[in-house]
């Protein structure tokens, strides 16, 4: 089984994530904010060396310092074993789960989508919800949270190093 999502699977995953973590007039939905890119990044992590599992550090560059999150950190040999296994399993879960929704899921009317989501397995729904949350509110380097739209909607700065916060900002906001 190939790693990663087909364009059709990605489109259906976006729709599913939008159902689970929807947006409104002020907040983006998880799928629309790069949710499928986040998942695809994880499913294809081993296309890169080092694998795109753990972003680098210490700074993103958004608040000073040299941007280094894209210097992905190498995994030790047995960590590679674990993550290969985990990602192989995730690929299988996504392929099976998305196929179970039906190829036309993204095109279905909202009510039909809701029914299809309810019919999906608890495990798959929980997996996609978890990844939707990670995508929308994790660092953009992982593929989601497009243009920091997830963080902006909740007035969250994200990482703050190396500037951090002043004593005044901590004690009397």
């Amino acid at each position: 089984m190939s790693a990663g999502l087909t364009p059709l699977q990605a489109r259906n995953l976006i729709a599913l994530m939008n159902q689970l973590v929807p947006g409104d007039e002020l907040s983006p939905a998880a799928g629309d904010s790069g949710g499928a890119d986040y998942v695809n990044g994880l499913l294809t992590a081993f296309d890169f060396d080092p694998p795109h599992i753990w972003a680098g550090g210490p700074f993103s560059g958004r608040h000073g310092g040299a941007a280094s999150f894209e210097n992905w950190i190498a995994l030790a040999p047995w960590e590679l074993v674990a993550w290969r296994s985990r990602i192989e399993d995730l690929n299988a879960q996504y392929h099976t789960g998305l196929d179970s929704l039906g190829a036309e899921f993204a095109e279905m009317p909202a009510d039909a989508q809701t029914e299809a989501v309810a019919a999906a397995s608890d495990g798959f729904r929980e997996l996609v919800f978890t990844h939707a949350c990670e995508a929308l509110y994790g660092d953009p380097v992982y593929g989601g949270n497009r243009k920091m739209s997830g963080w902006l909607a909740i007035d969250y700065r994200g990482d703050s190093q190396p500037s951090g916060y002043s004593d005044q900002e901590v004690s009397a906001p």
Binding site: W54, S60, I73, A82, Q161
Partner: protein, 579 residues
């Protein structure tokens, strides 16, 4: 060549585990001129092992890496652990993450937010002072607070602890804190004022986070990623300061990705001669195994923590003539009171996770004594209450759940930016039946029996929690909370199975699985930390604690480890006096 290599060994001492205990021993032994090899099962994300031992730059403000992707280990796919409440649960009810203290160079020190209180005089003499409790094993420690005070003082200097002497319940000190306290979090100012109105005595928490530049490491810049994160700027001193100092002597060799599996001994099993370890830095063999290496030393130090140390001893069938290895397992029984206030507190995104504590529920008062007696207990003791908050938005989103409410709930942020939390680290009474042992069938990736926790709280913990929780809820409401909720970890009662913190204790405070005592018949190590059965083996982690006290264990285990190492090298600290 290492110093010890001249007489047929690889080093004077081999230390297993690089957390606060192992690091403290590495520091003390190398300062005394000994050579040490420090084995760490996990990966090194902490510092270069070449001079000048600079930070590797792997730590960052990254919620995904630290909380969702097992960055600090252990990876439950490689190292599953199991849990059950009692044998009535069968062999286990949970397999995966149980008390997963980081498995990485620096151990639990890396992810801790560094609250480093001392125990008090009474904590070392609980049996003498308060007497026994039915169904529990209340014990005096084989040393007093006065015996340990000089080592507490040294530990605070080594790690770099910021604090102030305003806690009316604190034990005496021989000198001031090395640094003044850092800045108060906004939420802690509010909750501390409310606690004072309730007659409690909050104070600024002793914290191993720099408030000013200290020994070449910078002051904390309040980035907000403290609890559960490695510090990108090294404002947290535990245990990087001790490891770097040990490396700088030239007498400390650190080997990451070295999983100690076997203690080698002389034929009579009276002395340890070294260790065998799996070299996890090598790619798996064609048979899917890790190469085995062997090292020899005059002394061996076990510092893998109160979960891994008994697991190693039990697997090797060593040190257990008392039958107590793995038994008397203690956590802190956590009482969690949460509340959401109207304004943003910024507690989740700015500052050091927790800046204030209060100790009032440890000794208790007339009402707590009445609660104890009403339950048929001679006494109850709680623990420190942490005033704080530290949740990232990914973890808040997971708690908020799926559905149309999600975007507004996240903007309102009642479970993060408007949330405040009191966490009482309640004293957990020692019970012989609570234990770490070897799971009968679950194996790790290398075929070794997984560690299994069997644990359920004593009635004491439940009565204490039930007494204190309403007090904390009152303080939370007086802090302006629009709602409050109380829970415990481990969860108890009919809804235990739905706790977001899981069925197993969520605390990382774990103690007591190789207890220290005067009598080899009922303890595992002697009063200096040596195994009764193998006197050239020292345990330098919180397994040796005879009781749990109501304070975080780290500073005490560092002090004990330092004392054990200094006694070993014939270099003890002089007795101290109150200032």
């Amino acid at each position: 060549m290492m110093h010890g290599a001249v007489d047929g060994v690889d080093a004077d001492a081999i230390i297993i585990g690089s957390g606060p205990g192992g690091a403290a021993v590495a520091h003390a032994l190398t300062q005394a001129g000994w050579s040490v090899i420090l084995l760490e099962k996990g990966q090194n994300h902490l510092l270069s092992l070449q001079a000048p031992f600079a930070p590797l730059g792997h730590f960052s403000n990254d919620e995904i890496k630290f909380t969702q992707r097992h960055f600090l280990g252990p990876d439950p796919l490689l190292e599953p652990r199991t849990f059950r409440r009692s044998s009535e649960d069968g062999d286990r009810i949970l397999t995966g993450e149980v008390n997963n203290l980081p498995s990485t160079l620096g151990g639990g020190g890396v992810h801790a937010d560094g609250k480093l209180p001392r125990f008090r005089e009474i904590d070392f003499q609980l049996l003498s002072e308060l007497g026994p409790v039915e169904g529990a094993d209340i014990a005096d420690w084989p040393l007093s607070y006065a015996d340990l005070e000089p080592y507490y003082a040294e530990a605070e200097k080594l790690v770099g602890v910021a604090g102030e002497e305003t806690n009316p319940f604190a034990a005496w000190r021989s000198g001031p804190f090395p640094m003044p306290p850092g800045v108060d979090m906004f939420g802690a100012q509010i909750s501390s004022a409310a606690a004072e109105r309730a007659g409690l005595h909050p104070y600024r928490a002793p914290t191993g986070v720099n408030s000013v530049e200290y020994q070449g490491r910078p002051a904390c810049n309040n980035c907000g990623f403290c609890a559960f994160y490695g510090c990108p700027i090294e404002a947290k001193g535990d245990p990087v300061s001790m490891l770097r100092a040990a490396l700088a002597t030239g007498r400390c060799q650190i080997i990451p990705l070295a999983y100690a599996t076997e203690i080698t001994t002389d034929p009579a099993k009276n002395r340890a001669t070294g260790v065998r370890y799996l070299d996890l830095s090598a790619a798996p063999t064609a048979q899917g195994e890790a190469p085995v290496r062997e090292l020899r030393s005059h002394h061996l130090v076990l510092a893998g923590g109160a979960f891994e140390t008994p697991r190693l001893l039990l697997r090797n069938e060593l040190g257990n003539s008392s039958g107590r290895v793995g038994q008397h397992l203690m956590f802190h029984f956590q009482t969690l009171v949460v509340g959401a206030v109207r304004e943003r507190l910024w507690g989740a995104s700015r500052g050091r996770s927790v800046t204030h504590l209060h100790d009032d529920h440890i000794d208790g008062d007339q009402a707590s004594r009445a609660a104890a007696h009403a339950a048929g207990l001679p006494w109850i003791r709680g623990g420190i209450v942490e005033h704080g908050s530290s949740t990232g938005p990914v973890n808040e989103a997971l708690l908020q759940g799926a559905g149309a409410h999600h975007p507004l709930a996240m903007r309102n942020s009642e479970l993060r930016e408007r949330l405040w939390v009191f966490t009482m680290q309640g004293e957990d009474l020692s019970q012989r039946t609570n234990r770490v042992d070897l799971d009968p069938t679950v194996r790790d990736a290398w075929g070794l029996a997984a560690g299994r926790v069997t644990y359920q709280p004593h009635q004491h913990e439940l009565v204490t929690s039930n007494h204190v929780a309403p007090i904390l809820e009152g303080v939370m409401r007086d802090s302006g909370a629009v709602w409050t909720a109380a829970s415990t970890s481990p969860p108890v009662g009919d809804h235990a199975g739905t706790s977001p913190l899981g069925l197993a204790p969520a605390t990382y405070h774990i103690m007591g699985t190789a207890k220290m005592g005067f009598d080899p018949l009922n303890s595992v190590v002697d009063p200096t930390g040596r195994l009764w059965d193998l006197p050239n083996v020292i345990i330098a982690d919180s397994s040796v604690f005879p009781t749990s006290a109501g304070y975080g264990p780290t500073l005490t285990l560092v002090a004990l480890a330092t004392r054990a190492a200094r006694l070993l090298t014939g270099n003890p600290l002089a007795q101290s006096q109150p200032t």
